[in-house]
Symmetry: C2
Subunit: 206 residues, 2 copies
Amino acid sequence: MRILTTTNSLTTDDLGSAAQRDRRRRILDATIALASAGGFDAVQMRAVAEQADVALGTLYRYFPSKIHLLVSALARTFEDTQTIVGRRPVPGDTPSERVIYVLRRATRGMQGDANLTEALTRAFMFADASVATEIHVVGMQLTTMLTRSIKGEAYVEGEQPSDEDVAIARVISDVWLSALVSWVTGRASAEEVADHIETAVRLVLR
Amino acid sequence: MRILTTTNSLTTDDLGSAAQRDRRRRILDATIALASAGGFDAVQMRAVAEQADVALGTLYRYFPSKIHLLVSALARTFEDTQTIVGRRPVPGDTPSERVIYVLRRATRGMQGDANLTEALTRAFMFADASVATEIHVVGMQLTTMLTRSIKGEAYVEGEQPSDEDVAIARVISDVWLSALVSWVTGRASAEEVADHIETAVRLVLR
DNA sequence: TTCGGAACTGCAACGTGTTTCTATTATGAC
DNA sequence: GTCATAATAGAAACACGTTGCAGTTCCGAA
């Protein structure tokens, strides 16, 4: 029950004081740096705390578990990339061309930092019920990205996509995540992942 | 480098002596019992060892990690169910009817034991590269089950399914696993899972 | 400026997956 | 039956996620 104990939440939505926002940012920065350097196992809570220059207890006050931490890092990563590339409409003449274009870019981006991808993906897949909120954020980001690609030029900001488009987007994001997992675990090469995704998109969008 | 040190591997494929096969069975039994009782967290290596009546070191000799153990348990579970139901051809007049039938059954089966499903599913999704072999076994089981359903009566035992059928089967199993994960983590109800899978199957098989 | 509570630090401790080591037991070759 | 070797038991120890706590600092309200 939080009833306006602070006054200056003037930037983003209800994240406390500037110092708190800064700590949160430092923690996520440290998380991503460690993940990028050594993957899931290298993201050790003591190391994150030290690198973010906070005490271990404070880290746990901001993120109640390692999984929460990594899924939040995934959400921020998606958010950042979407802020950058989300302005222009997606190129391509058909829905499947556009979706393939977007996923190809996203996949390349993820594969460009294998350790980070491994850490974030495995955390996402391992998350249990207590992480539902953070997971939902990521799911929405994916769905938005994909429905936006399906619609192409016809996409308008506030409008709800159709149920069918959402269903298609969810199927595609399931396949994409599974493909990422199999790449991360060394069961599939980058080309196999690209082929599999492309096949799935062509199957679903026709 | 193992060059025939034993003589009596007369039952299954190269699993050592009868005592060893029995230990392996006891370990998997204990794993499934504990998972069924309390889910992933309840499968504690010391508890598995005790219930299977082996020492902790022996448990690790048979399964090099908790994840290996749980994924192997998943493989055995699939194997058992396929031994039971895999005799008759899958009912249904079209590929999508048959696939939906099979997945509905499988989903109900999994949802009938939520704790076990949670444990096995999360282990499967969390597995890293070192578990590639066991993961591959499970992937093959799923692919076989699905291509068999797609073909229906036309399925013959030894024959390789077509590339397209395999691709379709892989897409569907991706969606099915993702749906199971979201059910396990409380993000989707049983009906939502059923609907999502059905939608995906209809999209892909048409 | 002072005060009270929330947030933070530093550190110890606990639980569970994993590793390691020695003594003991089972197993197959001869 | 004997022996060499592999497998197992039993138990300690380590690593890391997580929790708990005493003391300190920050921050808004009065």
